[in-house]
Symmetry: C2
Subunit: 235 residues, 2 copies
Amino acid sequence: MADIEPRYVLVQSHLRDGIKSGQWTVGDRLPSEAELVAQFGVSRMTVNRALRELEQEGLVRRQQGAGSFVAPLERVASTLVIRDIHEEIAARGHRHEAEPLQMGERRARRQEAERLGLETGARIFHSRILHRENGLPLQLEERLVNPACAPDYLQQDFRRITPTAYLLQVAPLTGADYQIEAVGASVEDAAALGLQAGDPCLVIERRSRSPAGTVTWVRLVHPGQRHLLKGSFEA
Amino acid sequence: MADIEPRYVLVQSHLRDGIKSGQWTVGDRLPSEAELVAQFGVSRMTVNRALRELEQEGLVRRQQGAGSFVAPLERVASTLVIRDIHEEIAARGHRHEAEPLQMGERRARRQEAERLGLETGARIFHSRILHRENGLPLQLEERLVNPACAPDYLQQDFRRITPTAYLLQVAPLTGADYQIEAVGASVEDAAALGLQAGDPCLVIERRSRSPAGTVTWVRLVHPGQRHLLKGSFEA
DNA sequence: CAGTGGTCTAGACCACTAC
DNA sequence: TAGTGGTCTAGACCACTGA
């Protein structure tokens, strides 16, 4: 049934099981590399790799000269994935529709220029698209785009490809910042999403960077009760 | 100034820089291990480690027999950290106060029992605590606790230690699930937080597991404009 | 088939920590 | 000072991919 596991994985499983079962608990010292070498009959490099990877996961804390310890998981850290809205809806087996409300170019106001790392007055593209899941408004996408990174942005048919997907294609991503907050819907947001002004919305703002600079800034507004971010982690 | 970097880090920096600068872009093949060995004059194990770690970060995709490639970063993934409220406020250099509003034990209703993985009617502890930052309400913490995991929960002084910190101390964490949403404040939430009912709030729900089972379920309500989750990632 | 990555070893030297 | 982890080497054998 099970493939034969690499030996470093066996060492990891042994430690993970001990932590999950409570044999070792937060702050406890784990066996030293030398002890694990003896116990498993493997080389030190193998044991070292096993422990190093557990450290990267955040499960173990290692200290030179002292030993390896069960890490305090006080910081509930987990990988949060922000997915393309089309993929997300498709993954639920639902129908996704995108309605471009507005597209064009203009001179950047100060705040807009800051968001893209450009000078005030620079030419920028903007778009405003409503995404529906099975006909119900799920996300209002308000986006600024750096023309230098995606000169053909305005010629795309965003009923067929999401801006996220298109931009990833033309401008490889090398980094991003984002923030998540709860905000009352503005009058415009409410009108587009079919809400009352002030209704709670989950808002994600994200700035994406590529080798050539900031590609795009986007603000995603979701009706509070129709969108969740979920995550988990496991020892 | 700079410490001398380990050699595997030098290899990583070289690859990272090439990706950030656009020398290699999504899907491109990176130099093989053998080529990097020759280029840097290090052993293959060192190069292997450098590439393996970049793969764990999600920056590189490796395929046996084929090569190492620049990974598509389509899924904006990043580590989201949910920190203890006391730490978070202290880190900002502000004053944290906790006001226990309610504490006690009761029989679990169906939903409460589900949240803790217990039977309906089981004895559970509950608490409701308001956290202030420099006097301003920042978080309303509503919590259910499994008495089997923390029998002395109700005897604690939560003005001095947060429930999060206490529970981590008595019941080591081995996993958690959480979800984040935007919700309008209920009448009770609004009263505690000094808001109007319906005002947007960022709500985090989290269930924490330990070797003995589900330790606690918590619902953290934050005034929308006073709490953000931030994150970033970098190639 | 030649080239790639996946794993592993048995040493080595070093920096750090605790006693 | 003895024990710990941090790094590194120069080999090795294997499984896999692509021409």
